[in-house]
């Protein structure tokens, strides 16, 4: 006979491997990072001393960090675009037509491609004499010759959006799969009843699909928002922060591992980014979460 307390013990036993790993690689770093944010940390001897919010005061007055935050907030523009597109694509590949598995796989391949490799490929797409310029010139959207060759990642007015386009390409498959799971959980009767009632495609999409996948929308929007605030890898590989693409986490990295080696300041900036992420999460729960 098992008692309930032995069930609890067994449950914790099963949780233990994951908890230990998360403890070491997630909870401890978050805690230590927060601690560092209030300290002057010396790399050489590993000592740290309380500095009375000096890092926060510094980044509050630093233009570079403000600009980085601005770029990260701009990056959030990607969230609605990618969510709506992913939902539409999921709806499309949810049809029972031949070769659908192929399309699902095609949309998912970017997700499993290593970001560094994908970004190297894309930096060639974005080169001024690369694929994108060539393609748009071939369609006569851009003028022929030198004038039409745009250095997509070199012009500060468009570079950030080009990096966002890369994120879009890389991420859409991931959210598509999540939405696909959500869509397949919708019972077919609901949709059939709507068809009988004479609802058209758009009405069915807005009145049935969207409300029924609302929990998935919350999850995806949340994940996507946090991912957008954390945009970093694509920036490192595509632009190295040049041309006004310096994002908040790039600032964190640059302060820690760039030329300053100021882990305290990097940690403080990290805490600020975390704070922004939490505020956004709260807003999203208000919008999409279940009302009690």
């Amino acid at each position: 006979m098992k008692t309930s307390s032995s069930y609890t013990a067994i449950a914790y036993l099963f949780l233990a491997p994951a908890l230990i790993l998360m403890g070491i690689f997630t909870f401890w770093p978050v805690g230590f990072n927060t601690y560092l944010a209030f300290q002057d940390y010396s790399l050489a001897d590993g000592t740290s001393t309380w500095n009375n919010f000096a890092h926060f005061k510094y980044i509050a007055g630093e233009e570079l960090f403000h600009n980085a935050l601005k770029n990260s907030v701009l990056y959030l523009l990607i969230v609605p675009v990618i969510q709506l597109s992913a939902l539409i694509v999921a709806k499309l590949v949810n049809n029972k037509l031949p070769a659908m598995t192929f399309f699902r796989a095609v949309y998912y391949i970017p997700v499993i491609t290593a970001i560094s490799i994908a970004a190297v490929v894309w930096s060639n797409v974005y080169k001024y004499d690369g694929l994108l310029s060539w393609f748009l010139q071939a369609l006569h959207i851009l003028p022929q010759g030198q004038d039409g060759q745009i250095d997509w990642l070199g012009n500060p007015h468009i570079a950030l959006y080009m990096v966002m386009l890369f994120t879009f390409w890389k991420g859409i498959g991931y959210y598509m799969v999540l939405y696909l799971a959500g869509l397949q959980a919708i019972p077919a009767e609901v949709e059939e009843a709507a068809i009988l009632d004479g609802a058209n495609v758009f009405q069915r999409f807005w009145k049935i699909t969207v409300p029924m996948v609302k929990p998935t929308i919350l999850l995806c929007t949340l994940l996507c928002t946090i991912a957008a605030m954390k945009a970093f890898q694509e920036v490192v590989v595509l632009t190295k922060g040049q041309s006004d693409t310096y994002t908040a986490l790039f600032y964190v990295y640059d302060q820690g591992f760039g030329s300053n080696h100021n882990f305290g300041r990097a940690a403080a900036a990290g805490v600020v980014v975390t704070f922004f992420c939490m505020i956004l999460a709260i807003i999203q729960f208000r919008f999409f979460g279940d009302k009690k």
């Binding site: 790399l43 050489a44 500060p156 310096y246 820690g256 591992f257």
Partner: protein
Amino acid sequence: MKLKKMLAVGAVVFGFAALQAQADTELEFWTMNLAPKFNGYFDQAVTKFNATNPGLKAKWVDLNWDQIQPKLVAAIAAGNPPSLVNFNVPWVHEFAAQGNLVALDQYLGADKNNYSNAALKDVTVGGKVYAFPWYNSVSIIAYNKDILAKAGVKSAPKTFEELVSTGKQITAKTGVPAFAPKLGNFVGWFYYAGLPVLENGKAVFNSPKHVAFVQKFADLYKAGVLPKDVFKVEFEQEIALYNSGKIAMLTTAPQALKRTETDAKAIYDKTGVAKFPEDAGKQAFGAWLMDFVIPKGSKDPAAAAKLGKFLTGDEQQVLFSKATETTFPSTKKGNLDPYFQDGAKSPDAVNQARAVAAKSMDNARTLYLPPGALPDEAALTKKLQDEVQSAIEGRKPVKAALDEVVAAWNEKLAK
């Protein structure tokens, strides 16, 4: 029975391994982008060092240059840094100023006098030597003879002005961008042109002379003489552009030509070599000293210094230069080796490049702002680079861009 035997053998093996591990102090040293091309050289150096220094065991690890800093920072934070790390000069200053390097004066002793004065000056921070100077090189011009002939250019440029006008001629006549100079450190260009950057603790690079100098680059960019993405072109990309005939001239360190030789033989065969001209700054352009530092927290700095002195001694430096064929020792005696001048009359581009660059070595200082001159150097350098890029790419008048950077620099400098 069988089990006992296995255990016995196992115990002996492990015991032996443990003994071995205790006996030898392992000295791990990191280098920048030298494997697999120079495996032969390093195998030789490691074997020789281990044979003459019983109890020490050198271990070579090669890393890509952009991995070195993050990995080293992580290793120092973890309390387990390597014995020696291959650094460039700016990194020596950064790390030394932050107290993350071991000062070497006590380990160098009289051996300090072996190194050339310019090299020692490059790695001295606050009166202390922080690195063992290793190999150096300066920029040369390697040009595609076919493209230059097509453009009607008779001889390689001898002054910076000529480089500018030759570039314009090449692009106007052939439509090919002439060259892709590295613009990632514009402070270096000001020094090259003999223009001051800081004076009396103030930024002064918005004078009419500075504006005119930057304007030259803006004009070159506008005329298509520089490739459109020139601000993204680094060492690797420049070689790739030259090897595929997309630029007419290489303006970089001579070791790039080794890559042309192996990767693009057809281009290599029609390559000529000339000295990169000096300008008013009277500095050999593109000098880039490599060195070894001992990170703070390294287990046995005295043993590490032994390895450092071995690798940067006359004998090993000349051997390394012979292996690369295009770099130069930073020791006084090393550069006197006849090997460096014999190539002047050779028909081979690499041999010529060696002789050409060796002549520039006397003026080889790695261009750099005095350490500690700027508060929050990373942010200010970024500001300068962003504005200069805007100016050269024609999004902003040069004067306005430089004025803005100078104002930003002075605001921080005044604090």
